[in-house]
């Protein structure tokens, strides 16, 4: 690939003061992710996965190093510029869904669209809710939805503004196996259709197998990288869909 990488990370360090000394969370990461690529980040707890994701999103600031999105360094941007960047360029999916409890499902999806003053926000939100199979539940509050349904709302919200980059932090981590598989299916489908670059943090190898590339982190460093070929991905997909039962249970 010769064009500018969508995400490029150079010599990235993140240290946190802890008990009087510095704790190194990320220890010199170099990483380049092409447009449209799907990268899974794997690693045990404390390996620095979530911190890496937070840094890519401009939610946290590195101790040193560079993060470039479409060639533009973001580590030195102001809070305001970062906020604007996130609203236009990034979509998020979290392990704990992170829906706003005082907003209905539809309002949660509307939120990023309203931030961009999107002219047809309502229609777009309804369309996305339909795409995740929740057209009839838009007026429900998060507490009235099951975990799987909440995550589907979160997916609809993440894709609402058609962001070029999607960052997903253990999106199936809080869900049971079958519900998780269903969510992954929707996620992959949406990504496919939008051509979104995706970075997904997980510790589930089965989930990671779906990615174009797998980055293994350990102690803040990239331990190894693996590329899936086409056949591997298809096999993983097949395994996923054959194992997926049709329904999930509402809590």
């Amino acid at each position: 690939m010769t064009s500018t990488p969508r995400i490029e990370i150079r010599r990235l360090f993140r240290r946190l003061p802890s008990g009087g000394r510095d704790l190194t969370i990320l220890d010199g990461i170099d990483l380049s992710i092409a447009a449209g690529e799907f990268v899974a980040v794997l690693g045990p707890s404390g390996s620095g996965k979530s911190t890496l994701l937070a840094l890519m999103a401009g939610l946290d600031r590195p101790t040193s190093g560079e993060i470039l999105l479409d060639g533009r360094a973001i580590q030195a941007l102001s809070e305001d510029s970062l906020a604007r960047l996130r609203r236009a360029e990034l979509g998020f999916v979290f392990q704990s869904f992170q829906l706003l409890g005082n907003l209905t499902a539809r309002e949660n999806v509307l939120l990023p669209l309203e931030l961009l003053n999107s002219p047809e926000a309502g229609a777009r939100a309804d369309q996305l809710l339909a795409e995740v199979g929740l057209s009839d539940r838009g007026h429900h509050y998060p507490t009235q939805l099951s975990g799987g349904e909440q995550q589907r709302v979160a997916l609809a919200r993440a894709f609402a503004t058609r962001p070029p980059i999607l960052l997903a932090d253990e999106p199936t981590g809080n869900l049971d196996g079958s519900t998780g598989r269903k969510i992954l299916e929707i996620l992959l489908d949406l990504r496919e259709r939008h051509g979104t670059t995706m970075v997904l943090v997980t510790h589930d190898p089965a989930v990671a197998a779906l990615a174009d590339r797998r980055i293994h982190l350990r102690d803040g460093r990239i331990e190894r990288e693996e590329r899936s070929d086409r056949s591997e991905t298809l096999a993983a997909l097949a395994a996923l869909s054959s194992a997926a039962p049709a329904e999930e249970s509402a809590a």
Binding site: A54, L59, E79, A83, R87, F92, Q98, G101, N102
Partner: protein
């Protein structure tokens, strides 16, 4: 972000937080209600007086003085054709029923008013029978207030249908009853019932002797169609034509009773500050509600930031939310304030007439709204400043706590709070000095309470463990870090301080005024005694077994010059300095009380006496009494000399009823006024004033219960002598004081209410934690009663600490006010203090348990399942 989007987000943000916002709104509404009620009453009175100004003056303009218009003064030549005038004379005197069987009739102090036909030019005089006053007032007739009939014991009898009584040396019959007159208003109470006479009647009564205390008024009605400018011009012409001193005061109805309005405004300003205090205390509750609310919104804020909301947009969102809530709270407060105003005539009918209540005044309502929203925003600033530092990475790591607020941000927030409070107080008082004092004192009291509460909470944590589980748990809860009890204690404490201080001060002063007079003090004043009457009056007093009879001559005079400079010039210069336009507006607040005191000292009619030896309650503090053989000497009371701006060696020129006299100040004295002895600002060396026209005043101590009899005897033999009972005068002052005190305590109650709302809010904010606590305690085997007891102990402790701190601060404050402000001795009132503490405990236990009901009701399994 578009404003519409922001608004819809704000509305969404409010969902599900109604319970929490109830306390926000309640804290604000209580304070706004107090402010609006007081401002509304004050403005209602003021606009009432303005709109009724012509009726209150009963004329278009009036000339008032302590003496008749100058000989040969041609008033009508200065007025446009068609103008009418009516003279009015007012004096306080004693009238009596006719003697029966040789015994003197019952007597009564009255406020007498002799009027010429035409009075009143404006306004309605309520008289029975309903005929013009002039038609009723034959030279031998009087129109009186109905209560005089009872006071004198007048009765219709078969032979005597006319209800006769005696004024001065003549008999009058009651020709009618008067129940209200347009030009009689004021905060103070009257000396006695009204008696109207005609001028001829006043002449018949023979009461006007040189030196009698009569106030002269000439009412003027201009022909219809005279413009306001013309009115002012005529007034200026009159001022120019009258002798150039302040013995004559020309007032137009357009000035609308400046003194009356000023005295109402002063009371209004004072009560307004007390009301503002409850609003500020409510602000503490607002800050606390916002803090608790934001603590529960940290995740949502992190999500919003993650989705791309800029920090300043987050701030705008929550600031807008606060403003919206402030608006709601203020609107509710305004409605409450209006309701209070509407209720006041029903509660205190004799205090403010219903006609002067105007609850819907846009200016007042807007001020309530502005103050309410302002307080909401100002007090939310410090907690909202923390929003800027909520890390968005909290969406990934729940443990990412908000970073500490930048020191500059925090400093700026508190500075903004202080400046804002000052601005709000200034809006309420119009006086920068007063605002600074008020905000300074409030800050100091808050700081003392906060430090004391924090120290107490800390030291409680170090107490040895109690065996009672309820006590142990309650104490532990109080000492828990972040228990939000300090705010509640401060707020509640401030409420206690307000109510207690006012009640202690008022009780102390009431006590001082209502207690038995000191055993050596006189119980009656006798004024307007002609010198020739004195031996007879003294004999009468002696026969009535009066003790401590004392009498001195009084000569009326005016100060004409100081060190050769005419006093008119000095007073004029002082007034010009105050008011470059030369307007005669006494309501002008730029003229300080001090300056007015000085001008009054310069221009008023002075009472002089002459004595060889000073009474015992006088102490010469500078110079020496009667030490200069070459000049006529005068001794001045020290603070009076300061008001005049003179000292030892100054030359004072006097106008003694037309005769010039120059005296040198050779001594300054202090006077202990609380002995009720006869005392004078100006005492002249003997040998100078003996031949001047004069009267005597006397004091005497009469046996308890004999005053009425002595007054009856005096009225029969010396009808021109006015007999004043000190006890009665004091009780009238007491009445006024108690009314103001009632208002203050009523408003102070709002402060306590705010404190209670804050306590309930703090408790309810912790209800989730509390619910978990209850579940856990119940799981461990505690009964609901035991849990409730543990909570009650906690709330009782909060109330106890707040009550204790409030009582201590209140006692200290009342000590300061009583000993410094009123120069009385302070008496500790332990029973009051204990009562205040006990009431605070009871209130806070009730409020606390009420706010914890939901937590107490929860079953353990509900809570544990939700974990």
């Amino acid at each position: 972000m578009k404003p519409r989007t922001l608004l819809s987000w704000m509305l969404r943000e409010s969902r599900g937080a109604l319970g929490r916002f109830t306390f926000f709104v309640a804290c604000l509404a209580v304070g706004v209600a107090a402010v609006v009620a007081i401002a509304g009453l004050a403005a209602g009175l003021d606009s009432g007086i303005r709109s009724e100004a012509r009726q209150l003056l009963a004329a278009d303009l009036a000339i008032e003085s302590r003496r008749a218009l100058p000989e040969g003064f041609d008033l009508l030549s200065l007025l446009p054709a068609g103008a009418r005038t009516a003279a009015v004379r007012e004096m306080v005197t004693v009238v009596a029923a006719l003697p029966q069987n040789g015994k003197p009739g019952r007597s009564q102090l009255v406020e007498m008013k002799a009027v010429e036909p035409g009075y009143p030019f404006y306004g309605k005089l309520a008289v029975l029978p309903a005929r013009p006053l002039a038609a009723l007032l034959a030279p031998d007739a009087a129109v009186v207030a109905p209560e005089l009939i009872g006071a004198l014991g007048l009765r219709h009898s078969p032979h005597d249908r006319a209800l006769d009584f005696r004024i001065g040396t003549a008999d009058f019959h009651v020709a009618g009853l008067v129940s209200s007159e347009p030009d009689r208003v004021g905060i103070g109470t009257a000396f006695g019932p009204r008696v109207f006479l005609s001028m001829a009647g006043l002449e018949r009564a023979g009461l006007i002797a040189k030196g009698s205390r009569v106030s002269y008024k000439t009412l003027i009605a201009l022909p219809a169609g005279v413009s306001a400018d013309r009115l002012e011009k005529i007034a200026d012409q009159l001022r120019a034509a009258l002798p150039a001193n302040e013995a004559y005061r020309v007032e137009t109805f357009r000035q609308a009773q400046p003194q009356l309005r000023e005295s109402f405004a002063q009371v209004g300003r004072f009560l307004g500050l007390v009301a503002l205090l409850s609003l500020f205390v409510g602000g503490i509750g607002v800050a606390q509600s916002v803090r608790a609310w934001l603590a529960g919104r940290l995740d949502a804020i992190a999500i919003l930031k993650c989705l791309g909301l800029r920090p300043r947009e987050v701030l705008a969102l929550y600031l807008g939310q606060t403003a919206l809530l402030g608006l709601i709270g203020s609107l509710i407060g305004i409605l409450l304030g209006v309701a209070i105003q509407a209720a006041i005539p029903h509660l205190f009918g004799d205090l403010i007439p219903a006609a002067l209540i105007r609850p819907w005044q846009p200016g007042v309502l807007l001020r309530g709204l502005g103050l309410g929203v302002g307080v909401a925003l100002l007090f939310s600033l410090p907690p909202l400043a923390g929003l800027l530092r909520v890390p968005p990475s909290r969406v990934l790591r729940r443990d990412a706590e908000p970073l500490p607020v930048h020191r500059t941000t925090a400093g700026f927030a508190f500075l903004a709070l202080a400046a804002g409070l000052l601005a709000l107080t200034f809006a309420q008082t119009d006086s920068l000095l007063l605002s600074a004092q008020f905000v300074g004192a409030l800050t100091l009291a808050t700081a003392i309470l906060a430090v004391a509460a924090t120290l107490l909470a800390k030291s409680i944590g170090r107490l040895p463990r109690f065996s009672s589980i309820a006590l142990r748990h309650g104490l532990g809860a109080l000492a828990r870090p972040g228990a939000a009890t300090v705010g509640a204690i401060v707020a509640l404490g401030l409420g206690v301080v307000t109510v207690l201080t006012m009640s202690l001060v008022e009780r102390r002063i009431s006590h001082e005024l209502s207690r038995e007079l000191p055993s050596n003090a006189p119980s009656a004043f006798l004024v307007d005694i002609q010198p020739a009457q004195w031996p007879g009056v003294r004999a009468l007093l002696t026969r009535s077994r009066a003790e401590k009879i004392d009498s001195v001559p009084v000569v009326m005079a005016r100060i004409a010059s100081i060190n050769g400079r005419p006093v008119d010039q000095i007073a004029g210069a002082r007034r010009k300095r105050q008011d470059p336009n030369g307007r005669d507006d006494r309501n002008d607040r730029s003229e300080g009380r001090e300056e007015r005191g000085r001008r009054w000292a310069l221009t008023r009619e002075q009472r002089l006496t002459y004595l060889q030896k000073l009474p015992a309650d006088n102490v010469v503090v500078a110079g020496k009494l009667w030490s200069d053989p070459d000049h006529g000497e005068v001794s001045l009371e020290k603070s009076f000399a300061e008001d005049l701006g003179v000292g030892l060696g100054s030359k004072l020129g006097f106008d003694v009823q037309g005769v010039p006299l120059e005296l040198v100040v050779t001594s300054l004295r202090t006077v202990d006024w609380s002995t009720f002895g006869i005392n004078f600002y100006l005492v002249v060396e003997p040998g100078i004033l003996e031949q001047a026209p004069q009267q005597r005043v006397a004091t005497a101590r009469l046996a308890y219960g004999s005053e009425q009899h002595v007054q009856d005897l005096l009225a029969a033999s010396y009808p021109n002598v006015t007999f004043l009972r000190i006890r009665e005068i004091l009780s009238k002052i007491l009445g006024v004081l108690q009314r103001i005190g009632l208002g203050v305590r009523f408003l102070g109650g709002f402060t306590v209410l705010s404190g209670i709302a804050i306590l309930a809010g703090a408790i309810s904010a912790g209800s989730v934690r509390r619910g978990r606590e209850v579940a856990l305690l119940k799981t461990l085997g505690m009964t609901r009663r035991q849990v409730a007891t543990a909570f009650a102990v906690e709330y009782a402790l909060i109330g106890g600490v707040a009550g204790l701190l409030g009582a201590a601060t209140g006692a200290a404050l009342s000590w300061g006010v009583v000993t410094r402000g009123f120069e009385l001795t302070w008496e500790p009132e332990p029973a009051r203090l204990v009562l205040a503490i006990a009431l605070t405990i009871v209130l806070s236990v009730i409020a606390g348990l009420a706010a914890s009901l939901r937590a107490l009701e929860r079953r353990p399994i509900e809570v544990l399942r939700a974990e």
